[in-house]
Symmetry: C2
Subunit: 310 residues, 2 copies
């Protein structure tokens, strides 16, 4: 089979970049995989892992002959990387990214790209709480969604190429505007991370409950939040700073709802609580039915609860 992309350059070899490299090789969708990372230690790990055909810390050299370049850096770093590589991209090349925010990335990257280079922003909605080139794996995108937010009037062939690339890596692809993407992700990803970070911070700062108690009794539910709250600090700082409006809007709604819920508790409105708790059950069932989560108790964690010795 002819590869979808002859020469693919990945800039940034963290969890996502290194997973693309692994999946691209496993699925034979790319000719040559070039890994570029400004951090020499990361380049060394990528070389040792053997997940790319070429590895370099020279971003300009890395993009010179690339048919497709995917920026896999924290959202806030995309503009600076685009400024460096822009003048060296070959005519007809496709530039894409994997950022969790799309409006800001379009704003920061597009001005640096020369005419004749096609920009197709993308966001694979997949990940784990770990980061770095060792954390990636080839099946990360399997049955996950990748959202494309091509600017209006973008070259249809370029969009299709990026779509087929992500399908080749195992993902389902959906297209929407950058603005809608940022709203949807605010509620499905950004605010969940924010309240997880916040809850863990609140627990950490209590003086009436000691840290050892929080840890011991975390199986009561708290431990679930700690997974999102251990995600990469740089990545998430950049997400919140670059999706300010949508995140603050969703936080405001979350707050209104929480105030109503607290009021139900204060005034003993058991029926109101019961109604909400019944409605929320339905959403998990749909998520499991759609293949976006496991039905195993406790996420199938590797403790007693994962066993089937019923």
């Amino acid at each position: 089979m002819k590869p979808l992309v002859n020469r693919l350059t990945l800039i940034g070899l963290g969890l996502i970049g290194s997973s693309i490299a692994r999946a691209a090789r496993l699925k034979h969708v790319v000719g040559t995989i070039v890994a570029a990372d400004g951090n020499a230690a990361v380049c060394e790990r990528v070389r040792a892992l053997g997940i790319a055909d070429e590895v370099t810390d020279d971003l300009v050299a890395a993009v010179k002959d690339a048919d497709c370049v995917i920026l896999c850096v924290p959202v806030g770093a995309n503009g600076a990387v685009a400024a460096i590589i822009g003048p060296h991209l070959k005519p007809g090349a496709i530039v894409s990214d994997v950022g969790s925010v799309k409006g800001a990335v379009v704003r920061d990257v597009a001005p640096h790209l020369p005419a004749g280079v096609h920009f197709v922003p993308a966001h694979p909605v997949a990940g784990t709480e770990y980061s770095g080139p060792d954390a990636g794996f080839a099946t990360l995108f399997e049955n996950r969604w990748c959202i494309l937010t091509p600017p209006e009037g973008q070259d249809a062939a370029a969009i299709e190429r990026v779509q087929r690339l992500w399908e080749g890596l195992g993902a389902n692809v959906e297209t929407m505007s950058a603005q809608h993407h940022d709203l949807v992700l605010a509620i499905t990803s950004h605010v969940p991370h924010l309240i997880a970070y916040n809850l863990v911070g609140t627990a950490y700062d209590l003086e009436s409950v000691v840290e050892s108690e929080v840890i011991k009794f975390s199986a009561g539910g708290f431990r679930d939040s700690t997974r999102l709250a251990s995600s990469d600090p740089t990545m998430w700082r950049d997400v919140f700073l670059n999706n300010k409006e949508a995140v603050l809007e969703m936080v405001a709604r979350f707050n209104e709802d929480l105030a109503a819920l607290a009021r139900m508790i204060r005034w003993g409105d058991g029926d109101g609580l019961y109604d909400l708790f019944t409605r929320t059950r339905a959403i998990r069932r749909s998520i499991i039915a759609s293949g976006q989560d496991t039905a195993a108790p406790n996420f199938g964690r590797g403790d007693g609860t994962a066993k089937t010795d019923r």
Copy 2:
């Protein structure tokens, strides 16, 4: 080995009650296991599952000769059950429970117990998002903590018996006051459930983002919250109504912290965000080190992320 309890009666055969039955038999810590549930359909399932020696929907008959009775019903139902069984308990019997709130259970149960019956409230901090007799399993309490909150002056031998019973079921045991328990569990269990329910409710009510989008892109983080938000509505209604003060105090703190966090986002305080996101990472590491959660990415969910094909 002589069993720790000759005749153990479990009242309420849901997730916890049925798990105690299974674990007690597997570990040979109990002579005869009597399962009592006011719901005839539950009794029928328990009979079919074969996890108890005797099964009845007659609570009075079930406790008559019991050496130990454990109430495994929603927190709000303990008082009514205690009123029914109280007059029929044998002198020297031990009564315990598994409620997620301890102050309210002591308040509701103690008045119904005759002199000479020992009340040792307990709370095994373990569970899954599923409920009912089919959801239980024998290893649920393995390496989890069970908190005892014996009233002052309670018979030391009875406390020790309950402690050894829980250790026999696989749990670690800690003792504290009911008041401190309710504060600790508010932050480690009750508020995490409340914000999970709230987040899912907020997402459900949005008009700008449709439900199918919330479901599709839930792997961005949202899906984690849906597990707690699919827990048993009756159980959780009762928890919130019966631990009002501590839950509202912790919600107030959570809100203050979230307001500060939203302000950092609005004013672009990247260093403040980064600092918090770095601190919160440490807690997950401690939880994993203590054996209270798995280190596997994404909780080791049974999707691509659980594989080790790196």
